[in-house]
Amino acid sequence: MDSPSDAEAIGRSLDEPEAFGLLYDRHAATVLRFLGRRVGADAAEALLGELFRIAFERRKTFDAARETALPWLYGIGSNLLLKHRRAEARRLRASARMAAADHAADRRTSAAASDARVLFPRVADAIDSLPDAERAALLLFAWEELPYESVAEALELPIGTVRSRLNRARARLRELLEPNGKGRDISR
């Protein structure tokens, strides 16, 4: 077979462990970018190694009916990221400052600039203060652009739960972005 599926490669790695290297060749770059967006380059490099070693140890539990192992790897990564909340919060705040600066440069109006300087840090705080499970689902959806099915696979949840979790995350963001509580009245 020229190009085995992820499931076939994992199956083969049960007898020939080095066959697991194919999973790395295929997905490491994607997974590394995901980790980098969340915690920055240095922490991401360390986590990448940990993630693939955990995946290797758990390879027996991979559901062979799945076409690609990527959501499974995102899931392991999402769990690992929980131990790096501080790095994640730091990066969010830095990203907020940069987004505000970009925004100001775009508009070149002092009103927009000051709005952005207020708005983006609030978005960062709002994301940071989401419950872990909602933040994980929201960022897989918004940053990694995974469809609901893949978020569900990654977090090992029924798709309905993913939907309600994302709705809760949206509602909470809206709420947190409206300091006076006006946000509660905005219709969906």
């Binding site: 967006r37 190694g49 987004a99 918004a142 949206r170």
Partner: protein
């Protein structure tokens, strides 16, 4: 702007050194190779003949705390275990069906021609477990010259096992 779109504005790529992926691959493959490296096997492995290898195996695991080396198991057409190996500490012993290689179980031969010494960390706990599992103790647990604490027991087919724990620090070279 919708909340998800605002969240998207904070998505920012991290800048990686180009070698990160290669380093990661090398580390992963090294970890995989180390993980699956078979334990170095001792250069001498005695093999004990049994009439019923399966029953002997389950007794040795239960009573003496040995662990089967699963990869070593050979099974006959009728499903019975033909041969296998057990390990304990850094030692290893094979169990095989009697008759092969001209060796017979003491149960059939009427006598054993050897006994086996096993060094353990907690002789009292080991003894207790063996007795509770039905091992026939043929030399009671006792201290020998303040050197070591020892007992001997038979397995169900009459192979004789001698378990001992040193009571003081003794260099490997002086042990017996």
């Amino acid at each position: 702007m919708k909340p998800v779109d605002l969240a998207k504005k904070l998505r920012r790529e991290a800048a990686f050194e180009p070698a990160v992926l290669d380093r990661g691959k090398a580390a992963l493959m090294a970890a995989i190779r180390q993980e699956v490296q078979p334990r170095r096997r001792p250069t001498i492995i005695p093999r004990l003949p049994y009439e019923n290898v399966g029953a002997a195996l389950s007794f040795l695991e239960r009573a003496f705390g040995f662990r089967e080396v699963a990869a070593a198991r050979g099974v006959r057409a009728d499903g019975a275990i033909d041969y296998t190996m057990v390990e304990f500490g850094d030692g290893m012993i094979g169990l095989g069906a009697q008759g092969a290689h001209g060796a017979f179980s003491p149960k059939r031969a009427g006598t054993a021609s050897q006994y086996i010494t096993v060094h353990v960390d907690d002789i009292d706990a080991h003894h207790q477990r063996a007795v509770a599992s039905g091992a026939e103790v043929v030399s009671r647990l006792h201290d020998h010259l303040r050197d070591y604490r020892v007992y001997e027991a038979l397995d169900p087919e009459g192979h004789r096992w001698r378990f001992l724990q040193w009571l003081r620090e003794v260099p490997q070279s002086e042990r017996r």
